[in-house]
Symmetry: C2
Subunit: 195 residues, 2 copies
DNA sequence: GTCTATACGGTGATAGAC
DNA sequence: GTCTATCACCGTATAGAC
């Protein structure tokens, strides 16, 4: 297949960035394993071998997509530790988390929702586990001998944005999804506080 | 690789059933695409070609795993339509759904959580879409011009079991997960009722 | 029903010219 | 940076003997 659009001129960094955009889209819609490097290269308008110039391999694309993740979770953990304990601390922390997660991150959440196993593996291999960070936050918000049911409810509150994205019908406007996630977070954190 | 445990004697139906059990487990832990027919056959203690005697292909295993799904959703839709409208109908329907879903179904939920895209594709190809059934239930519970935010919250209430499974740390006892899901469902349906 | 053996396509990945 | 060409491998799937 020698005929193809004369690849629009791009600098290296631009090509890399666009490849990330395209890969994120394909991985979200078809899944990581079901997406081939060939598909990504085709959508990019370059040959597969050229794609390998920008990324060492398929998994490196994923890692590049995930880099920086975990920073926010760590920041939240730090913030929680700095606060003086109060009855509304859990609620404040949850809303802080959901609100910080909601800016432009919906695309990333869709990707993570579509490839839960992959994200877990890569994150573990990359050293940082978001789940662990979240656990640290929970430990600061709940007594260590707390009812595991209430602990899980609080976890669900923190994960209400991904849950909302997963529950939303295709085509739901982002603002609706975010609003519902916020309301769900408030509701769940309250449920976690009830005995 | 000619040496292998002398396959424990099984009837055809037993082999098929055990293959389903094993495949469900592997698909849940590693994902569908990342699991090869070779792995399933190995875990079963038979040759790959023998596995193809019981199932036409890999996707037929998934379909066999999913068959019967959608029946419960349809039953719920029917039940809702039979009820006389009342202020607590939504709450009753949600709890009915979560409770009915919670018996022995956690394994299936884990599978669906691990392979969201696959399940969507297969279900669509198999004709029945669980999402559509759920939409029908929602239409009966909410006015058609209802706030989309409240509609999504109600959807989240129905999906609180998968959400709880997704949020649970590995090793969480099933009873804890189910209890949290129930509490979350109640909480979310209440949130959906608030303006 | 289970086996051995094999066909076939596509995949991730690399070498090296331009 | 992008290309052509090529690789080894592994996946699904089938044929046919027992």
């Amino acid at each position: 297949m020698p005929d193809r659009q004369p690849a629009t001129r791009r600098t290296g960094a631009q090509t890399r960035a666009e490849a990330q955009r395209i890969a994120l889209e394909l991985f979200s819609n078809q899944g990581y394993e079901a997406t081939s490097m060939q598909q990504v290269a085709d959508a990019l308008g370059i040959r597969k071998a050229s794609l390998y110039y920008h990324f060492r391999g398929k998994d490196e694309i994923v890692r590049s997509l995930l880099e920086g993740r975990g920073d926010e979770a760590r920041a939240l953990a730090r913030w929680v530790h700095e606060q003086t304990p109060s009855p509304t601390l859990a609620r404040d922390a949850v809303l802080r988390w959901v609100d910080s997660s909601s800016r432009e991150k919906l695309r990333g959440i869709r990707f993570m929702n579509a490839n839960p196993l992959l994200v877990g593996t890569v994150a573990r291999r990359a050293g940082v586990d978001v789940g662990d960070e979240l656990a640290a936050v929970l430990d600061a918000l709940l007594p260590h001998d707390a009812d595991p049911r209430r602990r899980l409810l609080l976890r669900m509150a923190f994960m209400s944005l991904p849950a909302a994205v997963a529950a939303a019908e295709p085509g739901t406007p982002d603002e609706v999804t975010v609003a519902a996630a916020r309301a769900a977070a408030e509701s769940l954190v309250a449920a976690a506080a009830r005995p």
